[in-house]
Assembly symmetry: C2
Homo-oligomer: 396 residues x 2
């Protein structure tokens, strides 16, 4: 009982027990949750420095890179995104960004705030970028930086042909930033082989780790641009030249690292290493394939064709005659199951169903197919729930 | 065992079991650690919106404010610091910052990056600001914003006379930002009564919560300046006008909140409310008083006189003839006990001994006095360890 009658009397933390099949966060593995209840050591403790090294090594493995500059940024995915853009884009630089989803728009906003000029390569929401259009835009604008979204969480589209994009960019001496928030650890991604200069991600998608420390990797060439800037980046917190002092050789104090989040991502990345990264990509593809079969089996339509379907985020067309928000509410209330509605240009048109990390398990895939079928039918949609479950089980 | 022979083989997380009596993080309460192993709900889940409301209410209680704009920023203390400065300082604005410790310098760097001009009010490291000097600087520079450090973690100094500073600033229509990183929840702080416009803090000091979600509060007047800026702040991630959409009425997606860190700070703040904020200030004062008595009892000297001694961070003069880093290493190795050395102008001159939150307990205070006495004696310093422990016990 509060000893101070003016103190708020807030009860024990008892959130509902959800199954998270939305665009993230995904269900966290019990081992990661347990790691988060580990008592803290100091952020300059010699034992923590070892943990930092291990996290960097595991991140390199997961990104498929040898980049020295591979760290978890102290914030959620948008912080690693702004660290990438805010450090690489200098005032007066030009950044080429895509229009084919929500996150291209965010890239543009961050680039402008960094003092950059923004130019665009167009593609509709729900389509990937066309390499020819990217080449044309590079030739026309000669940008310093080109950003693209490898896995668009707002549309369920994976960008194919990444090496074509990076080759075209490098032909113009343009550095490439890839948004890999919804691909890292779940969908094939090869930073070095594909010649991506900078990639950022979030931990709460295919890594199934609570948000708070977010992966970022930079090639030596990208880091060289950062370290030779004429004026410092506009954020002190995200200034990579200062973070170098902490994560590099010197281990000097910059800011207090989010120790527990570093514990968590270490355990989440250990799970990636134990499974093997290619096995993990295959598991996501297999289980999301069963989910997709279930959707199609009940008579629903995927928004993306097979050629650029993103296994970790399944965009499913909302059938005629039902309200998408109402469907999500029924799922949450009856099944404690989270999926999400569309946003931006696809608001009202798609459901977004994640299949990420620890959420990508047969039991969850069957649940989401059965529960969505039930919810849609109860709200009057013309679907075949049993056909959906049968088709899903066939693949599983 | 890794199924992929190229995968790093990293073992279980087994950090040492430290007692944290440094400048932060402090020891985390077991209830807070347990809260962090709670499975996640989505960041837009109706149940999470309730949790957000509770955290805001608890933060207001702890800051002693009715400010609507009271939130945990998604990052460590430096993120809430940059959110405060980066939003309040517009290009062309002038910010007055102090020189009496490490964090005034960081304020200056952040203000410059925000596009502001920086002017200084001088005081040596280890002294508080003199209200007359602040008044003179306000008259001379007519700044838009004045920042001061309420509790200087680098020097162990609390700023007395806060209302004198805020009154002087408001006479010049200058908004006041207070760094309360090492005071919130441990040392008397009254945001509304003292007329502080903006205060930021960190969770890992007197709140004994792992870093990752950091308290920030703004008055309506300060928020009005933020919302009427001519150009947006230079960070998208920390843009309070966008965060308003998430933490305000609308509950619109901005970025994925660090859900687990919000769970943690909720539990840490519940502990504050259960204890009662004034009881908590008294406990810190009492236990740090015992620590101080122990230091003086063994023949050591405090760096700050009683008038501006900061109970949550005790700066103790390093006695002649010992190496401060060596002392800290002995404590870490023999006693699993963390304290810190000095930095900046006080490097080599002081030990920094925290007495914060869950670390502020009689068992820890006795331990730090006994262990430091032992370490110093073993390294040849002229101290009286038994006299220290006796003096400490007398106060306890």
């Amino acid at each position: 009982m509060p000893t101070d009658s003016s103190a708020p009397d807030v009860g024990e933390l008892t959130p509902p027990n959800r199954t998270l099949m939305g665009p993230g966060p995904s269900d966290v593995h019990p081992r990661v949750l347990r790691a988060m209840s580990t008592p803290l050591v100091g952020h300059l403790d010699p034992s923590f420095v070892e943990i930092m090294d291990e996290v960097q090594e595991l991140l390199r493995y997961t990104f498929r890179t040898d980049n020295q500059w591979t760290i978890p940024v102290s914030g959620t995915g948008s912080a690693s995104m702004e660290a990438a853009i805010g450090n690489l884009v200098e005032p007066g630089d030009t950044m080429l960004v895509p229009t084919n989803g929500y996150f291209g728009g965010r890239m543009a906003s961050m680039a402008r705030r960094a003092g950059g000029e923004v130019v665009e390569v167009a593609a509709p929401w729900g389509k990937p970028l066309d390499p020819a259009a990217v080449s044309d835009a590079l030739a026309e604008h000669d940008p310093d930086v080109f950003g693209f979204v490898h896995a668009e969480t707002s549309t369920g589209v994976v960008q194919p042909n990444v090496p074509e994009l990076t080759t075209a960019a490098h032909d113009h001496d343009t550095l490439v930033i890839a948004d890999t928030v919804t691909s890292l650890g779940g969908v094939e991604l090869r930073v070095d082989e594909w010649d991506i200069d900078v990639a950022y991600s979030g931990p709460q998608k295919c890594l199934s780790c609570p948000p708070g420390a977010s992966p970022l990797t930079l090639s030596d060439q990208a880091m060289e641009k950062v370290l030779s800037r004429e004026e410092p980046p506009r954020s002190w917190y995200l200034d990579l030249s200062l973070l170098e002092g902490y994560w590099g050789e010197e281990r000097a104090y910059h800011h207090t690292a989010p120790i527990t989040n570093v514990y968590a991502i270490r355990e989440a990345l250990r799970l990636v290493a134990e499974e093997g990264i290619e096995n993990r990509w295959a598991r996501h593809r297999h289980l999301a394939g069963a989910l997709k079969a279930g959707m199609e089996g009940m008579g629903l339509e995927m928004n993306a064709p097979e050629a650029y379907w993103l296994p970790s985020l399944n965009a499913v067309r909302v059938p005629d005659g039902v309200d998408d928000s109402e469907v999500c509410e029924v799922l949450l209330e009856k099944y404690d199951l989270e999926i999400a509605t569309g946003l931006g240009d696809l608001a009202g048109e798609i459901f977004r169903i994640g299949c990420m990390g620890h959420s990508a398990r047969p039991e969850n895939v069957v649940l989401v197919v059965a529960a969505l079928g039930d919810a849609l039918e109860s709200l009057g949609a013309d679907v075949d729930p049993d056909g959906g479950v049968a088709a899903c089980r066939d693949v599983l």
